[in-house]
């Protein structure tokens, strides 16, 4: 328990160093755009793949479980939309990104630590925490909502492809289901969660990478810890944010 509080304290101290004004604006903007590519654009493939199949599976399962003739088949579109927007895209995709992006951040910064590159930055008078972690946090917070909107769209598209391919639901039923009782607030809720999760993934992974000491083995351990702790925090904050935003 003491170790947990110790880690929280170290995390807070590190974040105080991270959230300061970048020493060079031009370098920060350059890094930010590089991180958009590394953390966002390079994740498009996996996000697209998972989203399409996730939407398709939700649609097929819903369609097969509608037994009653009193329930219209348009409910398939409705269920896919609600599941994808409220939970699957923001939470499941964030968990996937915790694995992909989180391990990348932790191993990149951890390797810099064990090869003394972070010491080299400090010796030059650079605030290494700000230089290395701040662009990653801001890039994640800005790019992840775009990834999640992309995921929502592909998830719903995946559901439609599955329904038209299997013939379980017609296109018109599916589309009318998607339009039933749509509330814009659900998008706000999903994106709010996404921003929180993006912060958790990038800052926690940055923290574990930055705290690495030792060699290659410790870099691997830091990377694993970053993914595990980020995932646990995403699940916990998902519950808290759902309670706060939907009740």
């Amino acid at each position: 328990m003491l170790r947990v509080f110790n880690s929280i304290g170290q995390y807070v101290i590190l974040m105080q160093r991270v959230f300061t004004k970048p020493q060079r604006g031009t370098i920060y903007w350059k890094q930010l755009f590089e991180e958009f590519e590394h953390l966002g654009i390079e994740s498009l493939g996996i996000v697209a793949f998972i989203s399409v199949f996730m939407g398709a599976v939700v649609a097929i399962q819903t369609a097969y479980n509608i037994d009653s003739p009193l329930i219209p088949m348009s409910m398939v579109g409705f269920t896919v939309r609600q599941s994808v927007i409220l939970e699957f895209s923001p939470t499941v995709i964030s968990l996937i990104l915790a694995g992909k992006v989180g391990s990348r951040i932790a191993s990149e910064i951890g390797t810099m630590r064990v090869t003394e590159q972070i010491d080299a930055l400090e010796i030059m008078g650079v605030n290494s925490a700000n230089y290395l972690i701040f662009p990653k946090v801001t890039a994640s917070i800005l790019i992840n909502p775009i990834l999640i909107i992309f995921s929502m769209w592909l998830g719903i598209l995946g559901g439609w492809v599955a329904m038209t391919a299997t013939g379980l639901v017609t296109t018109s039923d599916y589309i009318s289901g998607i339009r039933i009782d749509f509330e814009g607030y659900t998008i706000f809720y999903a994106l709010t969660k996404t921003i929180f999760f993006a912060f958790i993934i990038s800052s926690v992974s940055g923290f574990y990478g930055y705290q690495t000491s030792g060699g290659a083995l410790e870099v691997g351990q830091a990377s694993t810890k970053a993914v595990v702790v980020s995932s646990i925090l995403i699940i916990l904050f998902n519950l808290v944010l759902t309670q706060l935003l939907l009740t």
Binding site: Q23, R24, I27, E116, A120, I123, M124, G125, N127
Partner: protein, 249 residues
């Protein structure tokens, strides 16, 4: 000049540095020698502020570095160049970007001025036409030379070298040693080299501090070190198979 006064450093219960006081002169190549684990790397890291000292002070030309806040330390650090054991070049940047990095961070020079400076310091360390190579494409000796070029890009007043010869063959080690000494004399900087290589000691040791079990055990220069009667230092200096065979013959 850099002064270390009564420095103590603990890691938990382990007393790593014990009341170390010494001065490192400007325009000299000051060597810190000792066995592995004797505390010399910890001493260097305490001098540059990578480790906080538990007792004592570090003074850079009259400025008390130990008591400075982060902002003031940052200013002093911009006068420091450091060569790390493995070079510590940034993996994601090519040679030119690595050497240009401190210039980008701390100067308002134009791109042309920065490129001129980069090419000048690369030529100074006898490297040409390597600007676009990545660190992974360089040999050990080239990495060290690029790291020296990066360390001197900002015209430092103080140069720290942590085991500059580790992993290098004796000839390349000699080249790096002489380069460090030439730069020290040319720019009249305070250079501190942490090493356990006796070739370095005998070739560039203007001033030598021997650290033994965390204590400053002996001070002298490259001439005096061969005639000392200090048993621990003699064991360190003449402890290799090569020197014992030479003594026998």
């Amino acid at each position: 000049m850099i002064e270390a006064r009564n420095i103590d450093k603990y890691f938990g219960d382990h007393h790593v540095l014990r009341d170390i006081s010494c001065e490192f002169q400007k325009g000299h190549t000051n060597l810190i020698i000792g066995q592995s684990g004797s505390g010399k790397t910890v001493l260097v890291k305490c001098l540059v502020g990578l480790f906080e000292v538990d007792n004592g002070t570090v003074i850079y030309d009259g400025r008390n570095f130990t008591e400075m806040n982060f902002e003031n330390r940052k200013k002093v650090r911009q006068e420091i160049g450091m060569l790390f054991q493995g070079g510590a070049l940034f993996d994601s940047m090519n040679v030119e970007e690595n050497v240009m990095f401190p210039l980008n961070m701390f100067t308002n020079q134009s791109l042309e001025e920065k490129l001129d400076r980069v090419n000048f310091v690369l030529r100074r360390v006898n490297l040409e036409n390597v600007n676009y190579l990545m660190p992974s494409e360089l040999s050990g000796g080239m990495r060290k030379r690029v790291a020296i070029a990066r360390a001197i890009a900002m015209n430092p007043q103080y140069l720290f070298c942590d085991e500059p010869n580790s992993g290098l063959d004796p000839q390349t080690s000699g080249v790096i040693d002489h380069l460090i000494q030439e730069i020290t004399l040319e720019y009249e900087i305070t250079t501190i080299v942490n090493t356990h290589d006796m070739n370095s000691v005998l070739s560039i040791g203007d001033s030598v501090a021997f650290i033994y079990k965390g204590e400053l055990w002996w001070r002298g220069n490259k001439e005096e070190i061969l005639h000392t009667e200090n048993p621990e230092l003699n064991a360190f200096v003449f402890g290799t198979e090569l020197t014992s065979r030479l003594i026998k013959t």
